[in-house]
Amino acid sequence: MSPLAFMAEGEKAEIISLRPRLEGGGKCPDCMEHLKDMGLRPGKQIEMLTNSGGGPLLLKVDESRIALGRGMAMKIYVRRESL
């Protein structure tokens, strides 16, 4: 398991968990729930489209391209295919 933010561009992975809001809390308590509504749910296959080491990441879930900040990407855990 590794945080989403560590994936390389072009890499594929499966989402294991999104850290629930009880812990993530703070600034955007519902962000993780909102991401789930957008289709980023445990069990989904994702592909990292853009991850340039700084700034936001862009990933593909089904037919959607979702951009998200690095901070959140550290709180989402994935199973990487290559590891």
């Binding site: 629930p20 600034k27 955007c28 519902d30 962000c31 729930e33 909102h34 991401l35 789930k36 509504d37 957008m38 289709g39 749910r41 489209l49 853009t50 340039s52 080491g53 700084g54 700034g55 936001p56 862009l58 089904d62 037919e63 959607s64 391209r65 979702i66 951009a67 998200l68 900040g69 901070g71 959140m72």
Partner: protein, 744 residues
């Protein structure tokens, strides 16, 4: 509770009498094509308002179809009906409280699973529903094959494939929607079943509610209400005045909690999502091989870590250049029309009515000079709105936000804040309203404070006059420099504010990047018009009024000989010394800037009024006969179209704010330019337009800020910091330029 038991609640739904208005609520994911569909059904009959209490746009249309009265409501785009975003709360409250006759659920056929997740939540509201399987053309092109009948029978509703952009399937959709309104009980979707455990718990909650708060069951669909209470939905609990740990719910879900853990909400959401996934598997066959689509190829370049920002800057430059190349000939034409035939006609009218001389002067020196000076820029403004609409509609706007996210972090905002700021280039007023897309109140306030630094369309008239007069050969570049300066200053100011007022961490960034699509001509036109018409309204009301007031202030005390001694001139003289170090310490500049406090384009209008020279009686040319006049209007418009086309074709040809006409003819048309040549140097002109860029938000923005935040505080702060900033920057430019020997 068995699915279908909810029919009881829906029992009072009778079929509509033929003369009653049928309300259709259009719901769906963002970018599923709701607006396009509504435009293709209702055309320009859309009315734009706001949802009560919030400034989210509410679009409704009233029209007749097949002899039936129809009200169409465009709900905000949502991914779900959970209460995490303002859009979701609005959409849900509308559906639950207003109980529309039919929900038209617009579903993006290329992204079925996620869209059906919302559909399944809509299905629980016990409202008749028809499903528009939209963007069907793209789905087919991708090789997707749908089993429409299976989808329809599993959901229990009509499923109509549509391609909103080509208006395909729209008729069938309307027919299905009316049929659903006529036989509501047969059109209520089948709710999903969650399995015995959850169903039993829901039954128990409904039982508890009917014993303790039976009113709630009349107001809300019972099963939906029970499920929401089990999820501890904060909005519903609040509306019912129930505590989160109420006994009714706690008793019912006790054993569920033991078996599945505490997070009921996740349990139910997972169940819904699993159903959406299952449905999708059953009704959709995708081809095995997936091609890398165009969107991914473009994104690989546009979002590249090295090229992203340069590409964005280049795209902006191109936008400004095209804006000018296209609009310039039309602006010239309009200018010639206003100062020529139109003015002559107005003067003729006034003299026929034998009005006193001061009225004649009010009309031609006040109203026509003032409003005319602004109207000339309508083509520029519309062209700009057109390109902004294109950036939005094509999908690039969202990429700009992505690319700028890093820079925005430096000022404590994220890339999403960049979208309102980009919209600010069109007009700051909708940009202020667009800040509501930001979830966090701190982000909203900071973004709104920075928006006035993005140069809006109303400032263009000022730039164009000065650039045309002093920098004709580098027009696009000078103009671009102003916009970039606005952005750069926004970043600097943001950094300061972040440290002073808005301390804290950078906010979260979540955004979907839609696929690139070529916007249809029709939607470009509709949205360009919606954005641009505000300027026309402004010219007809606010600017007309201010032009008249300015004329009086320029001619009072009554009969004043020299405009310098008029009221406006006197105030201008008072301000002038403060502007002197900036290179434009004349009373004329002071007066114009003062009038521009209302709206910045008035600066030009006022200059037009101040500098306009009394024509000597003898000089007045005879008006040509009407027929010749009309012919002239038509042929000159034809020429304008031709040269606009030529300008676009010759991408090499530099933007031509200067024109190939003889100087004489120019001066005749533009007495203002001649005067400006005398009053300004290129350096002081640049300082002046910088000052206009920065010096304060206009009165309409003030009202927008007041509405959006419910207080004058933020406008006050914006006003204060901008005056200071404008003065300092203009000072640095002018004095710095002089030191560098750029002339004074």
């Amino acid at each position: 509770m068995k699915p279908g038991a909810g029919i009881q609640y829906a029992e009072d739904r009778d079929s509509k009498k033929s003369n009653e208005t049928i309300t259709l609520a259009v719901a769906g994911n963002p970018n599923a094509g709701k607006s396009t569909l509504i435009n293709s059904i209702a055309g320009t009959r859309l009315q734009v308002g706001n949802w009560p209490g919030v400034t989210v746009e509410k679009k409704t249309a009233f029209f007749e179809h097949d002899g039936r009265k129809i009200k169409l409501v465009d709900l905000p785009g949502t991914y779900s009906l959970s209460p995490y975003t303002q859009e979701e709360i609005i959409a849900r409250d509308y559906l639950v409280n207003e109980k529309p006759d039919v929900i038209v659920n617009v579903v993006d056929a290329t992204n079925l699973e996620r869209n059906l997740y919302l559909t399944l939540q809509l299905a629980e509201l016990e409202i008749p529903l028809v499903l528009a399987l939209n963007i069907y053309d793209e789905a087919e092109a991708k090789g997707y094959r749908f089993d429409l009948e299976a989808l329809s029978s599993m959901l229990g509703v009509a499923v109509i494939p549509t391609t909103a952009t080509k208006r395909e399937g729209v008729k069938a959709l309307m027919t299905a929607a009316l049929a659903a309104a006529d036989s509501p009980r047969q059109s209520i979707p089948k709710p999903i079943t969650y399995g015995d455990d959850i169903e039993r718990a829901a039954d128990a909650v409904v039982g508890g509610l009917s014993a303790e708060i039976p009113e709630a069951l009349e107001q809300y669909p019972p099963r939906w209400l029970a499920l929401k209470l089990m999820e501890s939905d904060s909005t519903v609990l609040e509306r019912l005045g129930m505590p989160a740990d109420s006994r009714i719910v706690a008793d019912a879900v006790g054993h569920l909690r033991k078996a599945h853990g505490d997070d009921m909400e996740a349990l139910l959401a997972d169940a819904r999502y699993a159903q959406a996934a299952g449905l999708t598997r059953e009704v959709l066959k995708k081809p095995d091989i997936r091609k890398r689509d165009l969107t991914e190829k473009i994104d690989a370049v546009v979002l590249n870590r090295f090229f992203g920002i340069p590409i964005f800057l280049a795209a902006m430059w191109l936008m400004f250049k095209l804006t000018f190349d296209i609009s310039k000939p039309f602006a010239d034409w309009l200018g010639a029309m206003i100062s020529g035939p139109f003015k002559r006609a107005a003067e003729a009218l006034v003299s026929i009515m034998q009005a006193p001389a001061w009225i004649a002067s009010l009309v031609s020196d006040g109203i026509i000079a003032g409003v005319g000076a602004v109207l000339v820029f309508v083509p520029v403004i519309f062209a700009m709105m057109f390109f902004i609409t294109f950036l939005e509609g094509s999908g690039y706007m969202a990429r700009a936000a992505f690319v700028m996210d890093r820079a925005m972090h430096a000022i404590g905002l994220h890339g999403k804040s960049f979208i309102p700021m980009l919209l600010g280039f069109g007009c700051n007023v909708p940009a202020i309203y667009a800040t509501r897309m930001l979830e966090n109140p701190k982000d909203k306030a900071l973004t709104a404070l920075l928006i006035p630094l993005t140069s809006c369309g109303a400032r263009l008239p000022v730039y164009v006059v000065f650039i045309g007069t002093f920098f004709a050969s580098q027009a696009a570049t000078v103009l671009w420099s102003l916009y970039v300066m606005g952005i750069a200053l926004a970043i600097c100011v943001g950094m300061v504010f972040k440290r002073m007022i808005f301390r804290g961490d950078a906010p979260m960034f979540i955004m979907e990047l839609p696929p690139y699509r070529m916007p249809t001509f029709r939607s470009l036109m509709i949205h360009t018009w919606e954005k641009g018409k505000h300027f026309l309204i402004k010219a007809g009301t606010c600017i007309l009024a201010v032009s008249i007031i300015v004329w009086f202030l320029l001619n009072m005390p009554w009969g004043v000989e020299n405009k310098k001694d008029s009221y406006l001139g006197q105030v201008g003289q008072v301000i002038a010394p403060a502007l002197k170090p900036l290179g434009f310490g004349s009373w004329e500049a002071g007066s114009a800037l003062l009038a521009g406090l209302v709206a910045k384009e008035i600066v030009v209008g006022t200059m037009g009024e101040i500098y306009v020279k009394k024509e000597e009686e003898g000089e007045k040319k005879e008006a040509p006969p009407i027929r010749e006049e009309l012919a002239g209007i038509v042929t000159s418009f034809g020429e304008a179209v031709k040269s606009a086309g030529m300008n676009v074709v010759s991408t090499v040809g530099i933007a031509t704010i200067s024109s190939d006409e003889s100087e004489e003819k120019m001066a005749e048309r533009m007495p203002l330019r001649e005067e400006l040549q005398k009053q300004f140097t290129p350096l002081s002109a640049y300082a002046f337009i910088t000052f206009v860029l920065l010096y304060m938000p206009c009165a309409v923005v003030a009202i927008a800020m007041r509405q959006e935040f419910g207080t004058w505080k933020w406008y006050g702060i914006a006003f204060a910091y901008q005056i200071v900033l404008a003065w300092v920057v203009a000072f640095v430019i002018y004095q710095g330029g002089k030191l560098l020997g750029l002339g004074g």
